[in-house]
């Protein structure tokens, strides 16, 4: 057929000659509603009702799961070891592959002319973060590093070395920063937070075990020295074998060098401000103590 067929048109043509669809004509697709089998009814569900013949099985008196007739059961014989100890308190990072990031950029869901933040990634529905399930953010994974070709300024919570190399190879900037769970909840869903009418809190610093990660220039941590980061960029370029493009001569240098303050959650909004969405106003604190607290 040379001309395209309209989907559903045949069925609509057939409908024209059929009786009117009314409340009396509706029925589900044949085979869609299967009645659940009931025990104790009919030839196959009845008689012993699937319980077997006599004994503990039929009478419902079997011992508890794991009981081995008196022999020390398997789950007690094996000694304990903390494989999963504290598993529910370990921070988790939702993986974001470079392949998915490239897909989002290609479809235009993520804007590369602005810094890519966790808020932007969630607005683009690229990742789903659940701060209540011990998620501490997003981690960049190097699957798709050979396909990746976009110059972006991205801020994630963890990044593998290959991912850092892939982004810097294309002339972009990557930073790893820490968001405590409350700040994370605000970053993911800013609109419900603004509607609460509370002042923007200051972002907390990482805990003891995470400080070494975020002060390391090799991870491009937000607490690391700028010169060490520059040296780390050169070292990574040498290691992976690419020429490090010079960012300072870039037209988007201003955007690429935008950095959030250590205590800042949103670009352009400082801690302590209250955003009023209905009247489109921002209220800033004037009290000395509040200013001192929020600027510490």
């Amino acid at each position: 057929m040379s001309f395209p067929k309209k989907p559903g048109s045949k069925a609509l043509d057939v409908l024209q000659n059929l009786p009117r669809i009314s409340l009396a004509n509706l029925r589900p697709e044949p085979g869609a509603k299967k009645t659940a089998p009931r025990r104790g009814r009919g030839q196959h569900g009845g008689n012993r009702s699937g319980r077997g013949h006599k004994g503990q099985r039929q009478r419902g008196n079997r011992p508890r799961l794991g009981f081995e007739g008196g022999q020390t059961p398997f789950y007690l014989a094996i000694p304990k070891y903390g494989f999963n100890e504290g598993h529910s308190r370990r921070p988790q990072y939702q993986p974001l592959s470079l392949k998915r990031l490239q897909y989002l950029i290609d479809l235009g869901r993520v804007d590369t002319t602005q810094p890519i933040d966790l808020t932007q990634l969630v607005n683009a529905r690229g990742v789903t973060i659940q701060p209540l399930k011990r998620d501490y953010g997003v981690q960049l994974v190097d699957e798709g590093e050979d396909i990746f070709a976009a110059k972006i300024h991205i801020e994630v919570q963890r990044a593998s070395e290959g991912a850092i190399a892939a982004i810097e190879r294309n002339g972009g900037v990557i930073t790893t920063s820490f968001y405590d769970p409350i700040s994370l909840g605000i970053v993911i869903k800013p609109v419900p937070f603004f509607l609460r009418g509370q002042p923007i809190p200051k972002r907390m610093l990482p805990g003891q075990d995470m400080v070494p990660y975020y002060t390391d220039a090799g991870n491009r941590g937000y607490l690391a020295d700028c010169e060490k980061i520059q040296q780390a960029r050169l070292a990574l370029a040498q290691k992976y074998g690419y020429i490090l493009p010079d960012i300072s001569k870039d037209e988007l240098y201003h955007m690429l060098s935008m950095r959030k303050d250590v205590r800042q959650i949103f670009f352009g909004l400082a801690p302590g401000w209250v955003v009023n969405m209905s009247e489109k106003k921002i209220l800033k604190p004037t009290d000395e103590k509040l200013l001192k607290y929020y600027s510490s």
Binding site: K6, P19, R20, S22, P28, M277
Partner: protein, 302 residues
């Protein structure tokens, strides 16, 4: 499975009811034919031909996909009792010509009926029935069957073992997109079976209900009409006319639902209603999943 009866096809339903003693086929005066019957008197309007001289009053606002073409329909008027169309209108195929998914219609209509249902049927269990704490007679010696309480389920006046327990709710929600698709399927099936009429506006000359009934009968629309209006102000004449009528009803466009559309034979939309419905129903095709309820403001989509 829709059963197609050959009787209806031939249109000879009227001929079967001829009287025995007269040659002419006379219908008895008290005959009530079901309205579901394909009525030969209800002439099927042919769709507007390509070279129709009447003006095109409405084009689709949203972009129509290139492999589909808009649905062309007549635009009529309620001002005059005769059925001359005023012009043509183009309707979006993704709302008015979707696949007639009857299973979705069934699911949505069933949901509409049941999600509000709270059944208050409640019976008492043997422990809740008044009395029955004492053993009626000794276990042994009396010669009668052994019993522990006079309110056990085998006794008269005893509790019910497996009866309805208290108010039970049958609440469940179908996904939003399924409900939206149900509306689109209902509109498409009404359009395909020629039960959908587009009208330029709902102003009628008189508040007399008989005017509407005569109009409906003259144009062979059907037994029941559902008029859908958009906006806050309803035309007063129409409200007065339909107030005491059971078969002709007016609803706001936000109240459009599958059950009402199937209950009434004919659905009448205005051009504004069509625009409103197309905007609302097409938005769901290309939206993101909600991060928070849609009532809260979003920056990237309306």
């Amino acid at each position: 499975m829709l059963r197609v009866s050959l009787l209806l096809r031939s249109g000879g339903a009227a001929r079967r009811f001829s009287s025995s003693f007269s040659g002419a086929s006379v219908l008895p005066p008290n005959l009530l034919l079901p309205s579901n019957l394909v009525d030969p008197a209800r002439l099927k309007r042919p769709p507007p031909p390509a070279d129709c001289p009447l003006p095109l009053l409405r084009k689709c606002d949203a972009a129509v996909p290139s492999h589909l073409s808009p649905v062309q329909t007549w635009v009529e008027t309620l001002q005059r009792p005769d059925g001359e169309p005023l012009g043509l209108a183009q309707l979006h195929p993704d709302v008015f010509a979707v696949r007639p998914r009857l299973d979705i219609l069934h699911d949505v209509e069933r949901w509409q009926r049941n999600f509000k249902r709270i059944s208050h049927a409640s019976t008492k269990v043997r422990s809740e029935v008044r009395g029955g704490g004492k053993k009626p007679w000794n276990q042994k010696g009396s010669g009668r069957a052994r019993h522990g309480s006079i309110r056990s389920p085998i006794w008269r006046g005893g509790g019910v073992s497996h009866g309805p327990r208290g108010p039970t709710s049958y609440y469940y929600m179908l996904p939003l997109k399924v409900r939206v698709q149900g509306l689109k399927v209902a509109l498409s099936s009404k359009m395909a079976q020629d039960f959908l009429h587009i009208v330029d506006s709902l102003n009628i000359p008189t508040p007399d209900p008989q005017y509407l009934l005569d109009l409906v009968r003259h144009r062979h629309w059907g037994d029941s009409v559902l008029i859908v209006h958009v906006g806050d102000e309803f035309p007063e004449n129409l409200l007065q006319a339909t107030e005491n009528l059971k078969t002709v009803n007016v609803i706001p466009a936000i109240g459009l639902n599958v059950h009402s559309m199937l209950k009434h034979e004919v659905v009448v939309l205005t051009l504004d209603t069509v625009k409103f419905l197309e905007d609302k129903l097409l938005w769901h095709d290309q939206r993101y999943t909600p991060l928070y309820p849609f009532k809260l403001p979003y920056a990237d989509f309306p």
